[in-house]
Amino acid sequence: MRYILALILCLWPLLAVAQEWEDRQVFQGADASRTLRILSSTDTSFFEPIIAGFLAKTPEVSIEYLVIGTAEIDQRFRQAPDRYDVVISSAMDLQLKLANDGFARRLGGVAHPDWAQWRESLFAFTSEPAAIVVNRAAFDGHPLPRTRQELIQALRTRPDVFRGRLGTYDVRDSGLGYLFATQDARASETYWRLMEVMGSLGTRLYCCSGEMIDDLSDGTIAVAYNVLGSYASARQQTDARIAVILPSDFPTMMMRTGFVSRQAQHPQDATRFIRHLIGLQSDPASKDSLPLPPLSTDSAGQSAIALEPALLTYLDGLKRQTFIKEWVSAIVQQ
């Protein structure tokens, strides 16, 4: 163990340089020494207005915005919790586990509803549904499915149209995909039947919502299941070829969460950033001006996945192993 550690320490500079990001943006403020490092799974384009608003209020702070997948966030942050100030992710379960394991700083006196925070350290700031997104061309002359059941029917009725043209998250790689899949499976058996059908028709697996939506637009795939609704809706506004369907049988609603690292280098600024974030997202006035949907205030978040320690259930090694095994056998089927 000690040798491995020494090895890691020796190779660390190399690793650090070698680390790759999906995106890395630096928003230069007045003081480069006060740089907030934000680790996030949210595409920069969605976050830019929020960061701009924060910098307008506190121009002396610089922000380094690092984008990577949800599962990667968990791994990289656990390796070096002192290198990041704020962690923002859509994988609620991974975020909650980080908070549960003591990586998050408790922020006192943040006015936020109980259901949208955990231990005053993990704060939810969006409500985003998992959506079925379809290419309109594939349903030309046919009604759009409104539920998972109707989607299964549609797939069974016209298997030739959809064969090899289905897409969903690869839950083995994507934290958010795994969260959606496990919550679906928890809610209804319909999920497994849909996976069986999708598996039998051949399904492409994706790491991220963005790529799925790209492939939908150009018709590579006709149906994508469990796409991040916020991203799809944003695309729908500029792209008439796709349609976003929020299944009416049971909604799967995710809340994007953020926390301040307990070992943050700039805890005050990080706290200020979280306050800015949830203040902005809870303000109904900013609903239309922001690219990310605000926290839904209806029925006290009952429709959303609850921020509670039960989220750790599917992160358990044995549970995950069992789930992945079943999922693979359903969807890969080779």
Binding site: N100, R119, E120, E308, P309, A310, L312, D316, L318, K319
Partner: protein, 448 residues
Amino acid sequence: MTEGVQVSGSLRNRLAVTLTGGAAVLAVLLFIVVRSYAAQIAQQGQDSILSASVTSILDAAVIRDGVVEIDFPYASFSMLSTPMDDRIFYAIYQDDTLLSGYGDLPRTAGTATRAYQGSAVRLATASRVLIGANVRTRISVTVAQTQDALSGTLSRISRNVALFGAGFFALATLLSIWATAATIEPLQRLTTSVTRRGPQDLSPVAKPVPLEMLPLVASLNSLMARLDQSLRQSEDFIAEAAHRVRTPLATVRSYAEATLQRVDREENRQALRSMIRAIDESSRAAGQLLDHAMITFRADHLERDDLDLVDLLRELVLRLTPVAEMKDIELHLRADGPVIINGDPILLQNALRNLIDNALKYAPGESVIGIRIITEPRFQVEIRDQGPGFPADEIANLTERFSRGRNAVGTIGSGLGLTIAQDVAAAHGGSLALSNLPEGGACVTFSL
């Protein structure tokens, strides 16, 4: 009254301190007991949820193809949600190999509290033996939870119980103040009733008293009864003695007077005259002793009657005029119209006669004794003479029994006259005042 009595503590304070001290001890005890009991119950609540979580995980354990699978339900952890968002930790072991969860979580038997990741956590552990084909293995599950909600609940309970205890204490203090006052009250009432008594009042306490005070009051009553009896006995004795002495003295005097008529030798006559004067003095003293005894007796049972003070004085003056004329003294009574007062006529007569007698004794020959009735603001009889007056330094003590002024040497008297007058005045609720007139002479004011 209270000087000379040694004070040892205070019943009221002792009672109040005991009651409030007891209430304080009870309040603290209440707080400790309720709090520890609440802590125990709250802890039991957490323990039972932890145990339920452990059981639900254990129940999900199965052996499939020789491999342990534990597909535990979502509820296993969701039941551990608390309002304070407590952190949870768990560890699943197969025999002594970690299957999943937190490997560094302490393993305990049953439930226990340990420190983990910088905070106190409550752990529950249980195990189960799985038997499959050719496999026999023990699965042991530990679930732990921080105690934020528990301590929140406890501090809330503590606050409420503390408030409750303080309220209890305040109420008990008020009660003890009231109880103390109520307990002491009969004692104060007794004290007041004894203090207010007149100097002659030796009657038993008649008002009802609490049971606990009965022995004290009973002994007080019996003491007073004995005192009263012994006083009465001595008065009786004196009266009896005076009476017994007076009668033979009168006989002796008449013999002495008869003998004086028959004796011619001057020295014998002189001796007889001295004898007669001594007999007069003794008989007068005996008379006054009798009067005093009578007054002491009657003062307790005044026989009040409406009477005319002017009438009474006029009669007295009339009766004493022969004596006065023997010394060429004029008794001058100034009074117009009847002055009706309410009092014991015999006592009043006695007292006033003693006062006028006194004036006659000390007044020089060929002088005037003025007697005046004043009606405003109260009834007063003023008697002035033109004698030597009272010795200024003795004026305060002259009304004591058998006390005579320095200038009384050579005057017949027992020293009881002023005492009698004073006692009568006191029995009627009045007083006797002695003074000297600036132009010479004594002035006695008898007030009713």
